[in-house]
């Protein structure tokens, strides 16, 4: 059993949002198959630095699949070839010796490249800011058990709330649409009585904010669900469509 592999990497390099990018071809030698994908990039960057070249910038933080920071399209798939995980949880044993690996940033107008593989996902924050919350001030909350919530609803809310805001849905979508991200938040809060109070305003405001950011629209292609590291369902998108329709028709 061979424990190391050699790879040809095609790494996206781009100085800034308005600069032209290009692929750097790099021969990565003796990569341990036990290393994670980001550890492989660490090794490559260290080698680049030793050679006096600038390392490739990429976002990462927790390296255990929960912070949502890592954002690499690997061989055409957000977070790489393995399903249900983020790029930081991807291991090199998923690659074959001699393989060419293309590494690109999330590509969307709403996620401008900051540098190399780092993109600006501020659009997601602005969408949440528009309504992804329950309008309740700190202090004075009723006892947590005062409002019973069916276990089924709590579980469904949790399914949607598992979103890590990484943006893989946008990166995967043929149209760079953010529907799955927005729908997951809308669903999470409408499943719970605390959030249901403002569900009408919430969905209208969040969709408006989403449209203003320049995301594409949903064509129900399902790439978002297939590539989501937390496997969030497109049924959430349907729920948002329904709520938006109801909210629009009842608006004064």
């Amino acid at each position: 059993m061979s424990d190391t592999i050699n790879l040809t990497l095609k790494l996206w390099q781009q100085k800034g949002p308005n600069e032209k990018g290009r692929f750097l071809t790099y021969e990565a030698k003796n990569i341990s198959t036990h290393a994670s994908f980001l550890e492989m990039l660490d090794v490559v960057n260290d080698e680049l630095m030793e050679k006096g070249e600038e390392p490739i910038a990429f976002d990462h933080d927790c390296r255990e699949g929960i912070c949502g920071m890592c954002s690499l399209v690997i061989n055409g798939r957000p977070h790489g070839p393995d399903g249900g995980i983020t790029a930081c949880q991807l291991h090199m044993r998923k690659f074959k010796d001699g393989e060419t690996v293309w590494i690109e940033p999330w590509r969307a107008k709403a996620f401008p490249v900051v540098r190399d593989l780092v993109v600006d996902r501020g659009a997601f924050d602005r969408i949440i800011q528009a309504g992804g919350f329950v309008n309740v001030n700190n202090g004075g909350a009723a006892d947590a058990n005062a409002l019973p919530i069916p276990k089924r609803n709590a579980e469904a809310a949790m399914d949607a709330a598992a979103c890590i805001g990484c943006g893989a849905c946008v990166a995967a979508c043929r149209n760079a649409s953010a529907m799955l991200f927005v729908a997951a938040k809308v669903s999470h809060l409408s499943f719970l009585p605390q959030g249901a109070v403002e569900k009408r305003e919430r969905v209208l405001n969040m969709v408006k904010a989403m449209d203003e950011e320049g995301f594409g629209s949903c064509t129900n292609g399902g790439q978002c669900e297939a590539e989501c590291p937390k496997e969030i369902s497109v049924s959430n998108i349907a729920r948002m469509n329904r709520e938006y329709l109801a909210a629009s028709l009842s608006s004064s």
Binding site: G76, V234, A238, R239, M240, N241, R242, Y244
Partner: protein, 211 residues
Amino acid sequence: MLKSSLGKKYVMSITGQLVCAFLVMHLAGNLALFAGKETFNKYAAMLEANKVLLYAAEAGLISIFLLHILTAIRLSLGNRAARPEKYAVYKASGEKRMASGTMIFSGLVILTFLVVHICQFKFTPRVGDTPTIYDVVQSYFAQPQWVIFYVSCIWVLSTHLFHGFQSSFQSFGLNHPRYTPMIKAGGALYAVSMCVGYTAIPIFMYLGKGG
């Protein structure tokens, strides 16, 4: 509402559903071709008898189609703009990738087909060798190139329907673990029926003449 991205999807799905309904009626009527020249011409005459109704129906159909097409083009342009720099390699999976990713292209093919189809069967003068609408139909479908053209276009239309039918339910928020599989199966059945029904006409006409 209609200015939002979701609003446009509602327009797409309502107009799409209306076209779907029209396709069923259109097919049902045209099956009269199988009953022979007399029945079909009678059916056509009946449709054309009440001018007011005819123009109203045509105006309705035109607006539905226009709304569907123009909204589709706007959405498609917006979607293109949403990703100015394309991926060098793109392999995102997704169950309905083939049909869903090509809606705008199948749509444009269908649009071309529609123009040709209307020119042929609405505006061909019913004189000389082809005094009735049945003769017009027969004359076109006697030529193999038109049979192939129709069959191919209908096949494209069916793939469009295959995705469009069930997608329109999702756009309106109908997604349920129990019903969605049924809707999907229904959509597939619908697309296949339309495909079979509509392709049967040129093929039958062609074979009927040849035999």
